[in-house]
Every structure is written in C-alpha cells, then in structure tokens.
C-alpha cells in the first residue's frame, strides 16, 4: 500500500498518523509538503490534524488552496482513498471534497477528551473492520468540530448511509455529554458519495497503542490496509 501524508504549515499530528499506519501496514508512508504539485500514484492520502495556516480566515480555508490540493482532488477523482482527520476534515470540506462545514463548538471551548463513537456503516474501507453498531473510544482535540450542513444534505448523508461515525454516550456516561461540539445529528465523521473519502473530527490514530489508553482506533487503519494492501 502506497500512502502519503500531507503536511501544511501548522500541521502537528502527522507523526501520530505515520506511527498508526506503520503499525498497521509495516510500511513507511510518504510525507509530502503542501507545496508539492505532483504526487506518485497512491492508494491512500491522509490529511492529518493540526492548525494549518493558523486557522486563519476559517479552519482549512487556506490549506484547501495549497498546490498539493489540486493533486489530492485529481487522485480522489480516480478513486484513491482519502482520509481527513480533525483539521484534515476541515480542509476536505473547504476544498469541496466533502459536503458541509465545521463550525465553532457550540460551547465555544476547545475540547480535549475521550469520546465514544458508533460505527454507523460497514460499507466503507474505513469502517469495514468495525461493523455496523460497534462502539469505540477515541480522543478528540478541537475547537471547530460542530458539523453543519443544510437539511437536504443531512437527509442525503443519512439516507445514503454516509455517516461513518456518530458520537454516542459511553458506558455510564450521561446522554447529553455524548456530543462534545453540537454537531448536527451527533455526526463525528462522514463519507463521500463514492465512499472513498472519509472526514472525521476524532483522532483514531491516537488510540492505536496501549500507552495511549485505547487501541480501539486500530480497526480503522487495519481496515484500510486490508482493503488496499
């Protein structure tokens, strides 16, 4: 599997993604600077978390216009798998590769804690190893994760089973605490129409090693590797 990780000025979770991919695939992914305008043929592109361009104007707005994004769009159009995590999800929505937008968290706070997610579909390479309905505990760390889209878009995402992950209450957790940012329909992650692009606010890469307190994010990377290897 040939994977590339895109780094913008202000990206800071690239090493976490590299470690998670190496653990799952045994291979070292390419690390690509955002100014590159050509990429080799790839199986997977990851846009990791961070604060690309300092979140200026809107999170992801500047990064969406970086030279490398033309190439990301070209490869995505060919069916190459693309994952945007946290800031990467914001970049994908700003670039028009995924619908909707990520607004400021409803309580205005930067939220850094573990959340519980439910995998909502097994029909994607990203969720295939979880199966529908499986719960996983992974961390979040963001201030702008409040997913918004117009009602027609939300209805389409739900109708086409394109909500990949939803925030749910964990064991013993109050229901009103489950959604950490006010996102519509408790949406934590969505899929593109062809189901090859995933954007999600939580950080599965930071739940792939026992020292991180959870290994429940491994399934996402294992699923990708199994499908693309």
């Amino acid at each position: 599997m040939r994977a590339a990780i895109i780094r913008f000025p202000g990206t800071n979770r690239e090493n976490d993604v590299i470690a998670a991919l190496k653990r799952a695939s045994g291979q070292e992914p390419l690390l690509v600077w955002h100014k590159e305008s050509e990429l080799p043929d790839l199986d997977l592109i990851v846009l990791p978390g961070g604060f690309a361009f300092g979140d200026y104007l809107r999170p992801g707005a500047m990064a969406a216009l970086s030279p490398v994004m033309k190439e990301v769009k070209r490869q995505a159009a060919r069916g190459v798998a693309v994952v945007g995590i946290c800031n990467g999800f914001q970049v994908l929505t700003e670039a028009g590769l995924l619908p909707g937008a990520l607004l400021r968290n409803a309580d205005l706070r930067f939220v850094c804690r573990d959340v519980h997610l439910r995998a909502e579909t097994d029909n994607s390479i990203f969720t295939s190893s979880y199966g529908r309905g499986q719960l996983l505990r992974v961390p979040i760390a963001h201030q702008d994760g409040n997913y918004f889209a117009d009602q027609g878009t939300i209805d389409r995402l739900e109708g086409e089973e394109r909500v990949a992950f939803r925030y749910v209450a964990g064991p013993g957790e109050a229901a009103e605490r489950a959604n950490p940012n006010g996102s519509l329909n408790d949406i934590a992650g969505i899929l593109s129409e062809n189901r090859r692009i995933l954007g999600m606010m939580p950080h599965p890469e930071d739940a792939t090693d026992p020292i991180q307190g959870s290994t429940e994010g491994c399934g996402l990377f294992d699923g990708i590797v199994k499908s693309l290897a």
Binding site: L57, R58, A61, A101, A106, D107, N146, F148, D150
Partner: protein, 80 residues
C-alpha cells in the same frame, strides 16, 4: 480603490459566539437585546479604478476564498 466585504452567517446557522455576546450584554444590564449575530469585515485596497470591475473582482474573491457559502453570506461595498 477601497472595497469592504461584510461576511455574515446564513439564517439558520447556529452562532455560538453571537449567543455568548448576547448573554454577556444582558448580564451587563443592557435590557432588550433580542439577538446578536457576529460576522467579519474584510477591507481591501485595490488597484482597479472602475467600481463595477472592482465589485466583480471582489465578488469572485468571496466565492473562491473570503466566504464559505455553505454557512456564510457576503455583501460587497465599493467606495466611490
């Protein structure tokens, strides 16, 4: 030529910052604040001297970068 872009959240898009300001104003004793919506003001200094060309140029900037039309409206003001 100067241009100003006012960017506001569309109706129906939750504005938690506006809500927080509204609560703070009420807490300060300003009675009757029914709603606060927060937006952005962007000022540009352009080489273009023709007002209608300048407006068209700035509207294109809004569509490509300055505003996210999924959640925001924009209004362009060109200084005569």
């Amino acid at each position: 030529m100067k241009a100003r872009v006012h960017i506001t959240l569309k109706n129906g898009v939750l504005d938690p910052q506006g809500k927080a300001i509204e609560h703070a104003l009420t807490a300060l004793g300003f009675a009757g604040v029914k709603e606060v919506r927060q937006g952005k003001l962007i000022e540009l200094e352009l080489a273009e001297q023709d007002p209608s060309k300048a407006r068209a140029q700035v509207e294109e900037m809004c569509r490509k970068l300055l505003a996210n039309q999924v959640i925001e409206n924009f209004e362009v003001e060109v200084e005569a």
